[in-house]
């Protein structure tokens, strides 16, 4: 145990945790926006898989990581159009259509991977960016200010999304569409359009989440996400539909994974029990859902397609 509480390992664990938390955070922030507008998108995991593959393939072909990230986001936008069309325009049952999107993403990403790439090759990873001055703060610098651009971006998005939801007209309209679409409609808010926009933003962030996961791992494989997209949806509930809460949940999840990894490599927990320790985040999340369900209320119209006079 004493090995763990050393300066180097503690800072490295926290730094890794933030990197691990980034895909969760990006996807969960996107899902938060969508859910606040009343649309539950369970296809996040499939979208992340597709965009992760697109990022991987583009990076392999061009070697340009920023272009690859853009392509990953582009895939998110395309899937956003599909999701919004199904959930908002066709008013399908969102829980089930999301499973359809997930299965499609799972199958199609692996299909393309086997067909187009075959043998997996690693790609170069994003270089960490040191924030001048801040990176020299002892401990804190190593933990927080030597990260990749995507990590900074994800955490900067937390205040941005909070501001957008709470302080802008667009955010008001999103929340109104999620709480009481009929009332929003009666004062001239185009509920369908607002939901389309919210879903598109959400899926774009899911695409970015897939790209960030891929760049963190540096290689693609079948079912790369291992349900991370579903966890992101759970983190939205965990964070009670607030961006800061979602950030807390994502960091907690990242930390739990990083700690288990580091304890495993240090031999603090025997290899055989590391699988059991890895259940901790999921168990914590279920317990957190218990309290969230009692203390917070979800957007009133979540998952309910809106119909005039219906």
């Amino acid at each position: 145990m004493s090995h763990f509480f050393t300066y180097a390992i503690l800072t490295a664990t926290v730094a890794t945790a933030l990197g691990l938390a980034t895909p969760f955070l990006l996807a969960a922030l996107g899902e938060t926006i969508g859910q606040r507008s009343g649309v539950i998108n369970l296809g996040v995991d499939g979208i992340m898989l597709l965009s992760a593959f697109a990022t991987y393939y583009t990076a392999l072909q061009t070697g340009n990581l920023f272009f690859a990230i853009l392509v990953g986001m582009g895939v998110g936008v395309v899937m956003g159009v599909v999701t919004a069309f199904i959930s908002v325009t066709l008013k399908a049952e969102q829980g089930i259509s999301g499973i359809g999107i997930y299965l499609f993403g799972l199958g199609f990403s692996d299909l393309l991977f086997i067909k187009l790439v075959g043998t997996p090759l690693p790609i170069s990873s994003l270089n960490p960016i040191n924030i001048p001055l801040l990176d020299r703060i002892p401990a804190v610098g190593n933990m927080f200010f030597k990260q990749t651009i995507l990590v900074y971006l994800a955490f900067l998005l937390v205040p941005v999304v909070t501001f957008m939801l709470n302080r802008t007209t667009f955010g008001m309209k999103i929340r109104a569409s999620g709480e009481n679409p009929a009332a929003a409609d009666s004062v001239g808010v185009n509920v369908a359009r607002i939901r389309w926009q919210a879903v598109l933003i959400g899926c774009t962030l899911a695409g970015l989440a897939g790209a960030s996961l891929l760049l963190f791992d540096g290689i693609f494989q079948e079912n790369l996400t291992q349900s991370e997209g579903f966890i992101a949806v759970a983190l939205v509930y965990f964070g009670a539909w607030r961006p800061t809460g979602v950030m807390g949940g994502s960091v907690l999840y990242g930390l739990a994974i990083a700690v288990v990894l580091s304890w495993k490599s240090l031999g603090i927990i025997p290899l055989s029990a590391s699988d059991l320790a890895a259940t901790a985040p999921a168990v914590i999340t279920v317990l957190a859902l218990l309290t969230v369900a009692r203390r917070f209320r979800q957007p009133a119209a979540l998952g309910k397609p809106y119909e005039r006079g219906g």
Partner: protein, 396 residues
């Protein structure tokens, strides 16, 4: 609108309703297959060769049919479980975890009782599988019923717990310690006692007793849902929680029980996966899919395609089992990876739910505009499968 024209409009609406209800499901499958053909063309494969190989691989000859039936059996059990949960308006997407827990519980039972004869051991392992799955279904069910925890999230989280428990058990307490391996032990159980193997019922095929059991269970669940007061309560709770409560039904207990049964079905499916497998061991590659082959999700597709009816699910499971078995033949014939089948299943789901909305809407409108009677009694629509709105719930 004149009376005549409204009658015409009415007939048209009725026809549309008819078309949607009877053709929506096959249409979804055909549309998905057509999109699949486009995918194959884009990947430089001949779709006719591909689908031909798929159909031959799945349905041509007794061996292929046997393999399809074997693939379909756990799918059917998951689908039947999904039917029960969905009918109660509880959305069980924890099939993967429930399959794994069922597989683990049944394997542990077989390993613990190696000397029992088949006649006692097989029912015991199947019951153990059902019990393992039931536990994994009861937890989210009770959380949903009593604490209003979203079951989609809790089932996903329990999937994540199940995969780690599975990896731990198969690499630790349940691992085959007699393996002759230089690179560390493979996470798998030792060969399960021969008395626990599901006997082959048609010689020269893989068709085992589990297929028969799955069909019998499906029929049994149909009886449970449509011919018993419990089934009536499940459907009532699914259609309106408030009305059921008002009618004095034990809403929370019914929801918990529905999820428990749903989990038990999946757990039984997990037992079939182990004892009907060719290796007769439980093996993990570190992921749930490695054991389940995504049956927990595929079962949702099967149930939807079977209109959430256990009897229709039998046909549906056979079809999708064929799709999965034929997928390998497709890969051999055209080089298009078998993952295409998973993508196709996703498309089927998307089409089914998209059309489902139109079906419901045409039902609603065909009752006629409000406030105007044409002498037709206001018919009570037969219970439309309560495809769950994920976020929809009554007050805690």
């Amino acid at each position: 609108m004149s009376r005549a024209s409204s009658l015409v409009a009415d007939t048209w609406k009725d026809r549309r309703r008819f078309l949607l209800s009877w053709f929506a499901l096959p249409f979804s499958l055909v549309a998905a297959l057509l999109l699949g053909a486009v995918m194959m063309l884009a990947l430089g494969a001949n779709p006719i060769t591909g689908y031909n190989a798929l159909i031959v691989g799945a349905f041509d000859g007794s061996y292929a049919l046997g393999s399809t039936a074997v693939e379909a059996a756990p799918l059917l059990l998951v689908a039947v479980g999904i039917c029960v949960a969905f009918r109660a308006n509880v959305f069980n997407i924890g099939g993967e975890g429930q399959l794994a827990m069922g597989g683990l519980a049944s394997s542990a039972t077989a390993l613990a009782l190696p000397h029992l004869p088949s006649i006692a051991l097989i029912p015991l392992v199947l019951l153990a599988g059902a019990a393992g799955g039931a536990l994994w279904g009861a937890i989210p069910g009770a959380f949903k019923a009593y604490f209003n925890v979203n079951e989609i999230l809790s089932t996903i989280m329990l999937n994540l717990v199940a995969v780690q428990v599975m990896n731990w058990l198969l690499a630790g307490p349940m691992v085959d310690k007699t393996q002759n391996s230089t690179y560390g032990l493979i996470p798998e159980t030792r060969l399960l006692p021969k008395a626990s193997w599901l006997p082959i019922i048609v010689p020269n095929t893989q068709l085992h007793l589990g297929v028969l059991i799955a069909v019998v269970v499906a029929v049994g669940v149909w009886v449970l849902l449509y011919r018993t007061s419990f089934g009536f309560r499940v459907q009532a709770v699914g259609l309106s929680r408030d009305a059921s409560k008002y009618a004095g039904m034990p809403v929370k207990r019914t929801m918990t029980l529905a999820m428990t049964i749903s989990g038990a079905m999946c757990g039984l499916g997990g037992a079939l996966l182990v004892f009907g497998s060719i290796s007769h061991r439980m093996v993990t590659d570190g992921s749930l899919t490695g054991f389940t082959g995504s049956d927990g999700f595929n079962g949702i597709v099967v149930a939807l395609f079977g209109a959430l009816n256990p009897l229709w699910s039998i046909i549906s499971a056979f079809l999708f089992g064929g799709l999965i078995v034929g997928g390998d033949a497709l890969q051999v014939a055209t080089g298009v990876p078998a993952d295409m089948v998973t993508a196709l299943e996703g498309l089927v789901v998307v089409f089914v739910v998209s059309l489902e909305y139109m079906r419901r809407r045409s039902r609603a409108t065909s009752l006629g505009p409000p406030g105007r009677s044409r002498g037709r009694p206001p018919q009570v629509a037969e219970p439309v499968p309560p495809l769950v709105a994920a976020g929809e719930r009554s007050d805690p």
